[in-house]
Symmetry: C2
Subunit: 387 residues, 2 copies
Amino acid sequence: MGRAVGSWRRATLACVLVLVLVLVLLAGTRALENGLARTPTMGWLHWERFLCSTDCASDPLSCVSEQLFMQMADLMVSDGWKDVGYEYVCIDDCWMSLTRDNQDRLQPDPERFPSGIRKLADYVHSKGLKLGIYGDVGNKTCAGFPGSYGHYDLDAQTFADWGVDLLKFDGCNYGTQDQLAEGYRNMSLALNKTGRSIVYSCEWPLYMRPMQRLVIGNFGLSWDQQLTQMALWAIMAAPLLMSNDLRHISPQAKWLLQNKDVIAINQDPLGKQGYRITKDNNFELWERPLSGGTYAVAVMNRQEIGGPQIFSFSTSFLGNGLACNPACSIQQILPTSEDWGLHNWVSFLNIKVNPTGTVLLKVVVIGESPAEKPVMNINKKPSPDIL
Amino acid sequence: MGRAVGSWRRATLACVLVLVLVLVLLAGTRALENGLARTPTMGWLHWERFLCSTDCASDPLSCVSEQLFMQMADLMVSDGWKDVGYEYVCIDDCWMSLTRDNQDRLQPDPERFPSGIRKLADYVHSKGLKLGIYGDVGNKTCAGFPGSYGHYDLDAQTFADWGVDLLKFDGCNYGTQDQLAEGYRNMSLALNKTGRSIVYSCEWPLYMRPMQRLVIGNFGLSWDQQLTQMALWAIMAAPLLMSNDLRHISPQAKWLLQNKDVIAINQDPLGKQGYRITKDNNFELWERPLSGGTYAVAVMNRQEIGGPQIFSFSTSFLGNGLACNPACSIQQILPTSEDWGLHNWVSFLNIKVNPTGTVLLKVVVIGESPAEKPVMNINKKPSPDIL
């Protein structure tokens, strides 16, 4: 059964979760104006699904090996993932050899990555994709492989030499919080010194927050919970890093992860993060300003029992009172795509949401200029979806 | 949105969960040798899905009303639920009027139950089913309706007069733990005094345990989690009381809840409860002795992340070393029905289980008498299911 995962108290999953704080860090990187991560990173990361599976003899299809990443790269192209924006194929912990090479450089496990990372990067690039790799700010990675402490410049240069495009930098086995902060800053400088464009996916904030562990396309989330996860990722402008088995993914999960309307919200070029407007018992109302006078709105039902419940609110709640003033058109994005038609500043929405589920909307402001002003039917009966 | 469910700290869901302790109480009732609940109760209970929905004007299809119970009774017959053993249609909290009648008797809400409980019981009986009702040991029910404290004899007689077949007796709004215990005992005596056979579904143990809230066929459980719930219900000889919307239930959830092999384990006439044999990291191995020298065995993977993992154990673990001695045949019941063929006392099983999922097996002991001894192929290659 391999190593006990329960003992990995700091095993890192943040990239694939609600990464509010990581985005703050990415925003920090963006402040360097190096053109990277202008919108949330999209891709695939091995951790949540494949963990530290290193025994290729007994589990050849699931061990962390170059074969696994090549297969995922192939599927990202053949199964439409690349077309909708997923770009990074990311290696997580457990790719390394237990020792550095004779020049003190990190090296991959020779049996699981016989061709080396440079060759793997070439393969991934040949598919029009990018390669992510993993390191740790401390003395050892979370799984006990060599950490980058004391080797930041060398490791950054090694990754650059290999043609790596993203570094997930974990925070296990560090000293004090101050040392941790200094380590993250130093690796940031080291990456910039290489001259290569490498997205810095920084796990630092994870070490100040509790964790959740479940992601779309695997075994632990109900359909409504998967809808909630995808909607909140979009609202929060979180990196869309899947961690599932693209060889075995349900059509339903694939539909959700490839949903172009949701991805468009996540990738909106305005780059603003969403926020919660209000909380009322078990319901939460979130919104995210998008480019072009548009808002994404999520209504989440946190209740776990009972049947679908209705959350009622005035459109004046949205966009600080401006989203539907004087009018707006509303499109439901999740759980299904539906047109809710035109509404105005006195409209009242009654939205039915399943327990643990979320309804995601796109609200387009309609201005007063004659050219833009359509004939509004604000007294029309609400559709069954609006109840 | 109705009343805030979050404030119902003691809202009761035990019947539809892993009811180890309730079974102990049912066993206590069985000790009266009144013929009731010789095997775990099977049926449907409104709470987890419909809660205290009392506003029939705005939500006619989901409010707690005689219509709802009549519809569920109809569906229990027409959709095969009765055929596989589900028998009790159970009313939970919120059926009552806020006041007792002029003879101090409990009475149903006149708008939601205009025909009265007696008529509803007649209807349910006409379908070959039985009716369950709800009361509370304290001054008020969990939702604030009249409690039975000080009226145990009267309420028991009222339920008997109406033709009720099961009482779920809740434990809200009591005084001390001693008073609670005395109240439960007194209602037990009161029910026996009526002379009518009424199953006593006693919530008392719930008030000493933390709660979980999710059940098969609703919104909050993934498929693997539903498999685990059903398998553990069977192993624990727990009452099979669904709480879902039989008008809208997925074919997959229906298949699971109507699975005759699982129900046969749950309803096994030997009446022994299962127990955990061992725990190894994230895996738990459970077994339940069944009639006819048979064992139900469940392998549960409690890990929430990662991919399917293999749990390996010797058949000598099972049945205190006797289940496969000298030989046994093994049938996989969940997640799918598969024949694993013959094994013996030195066989080793390698069972792959999804995260949060469970594999449920039935192990039939094969004795040494010539008549029973088949030709064994104990060296045969394990099937793909056994890996």
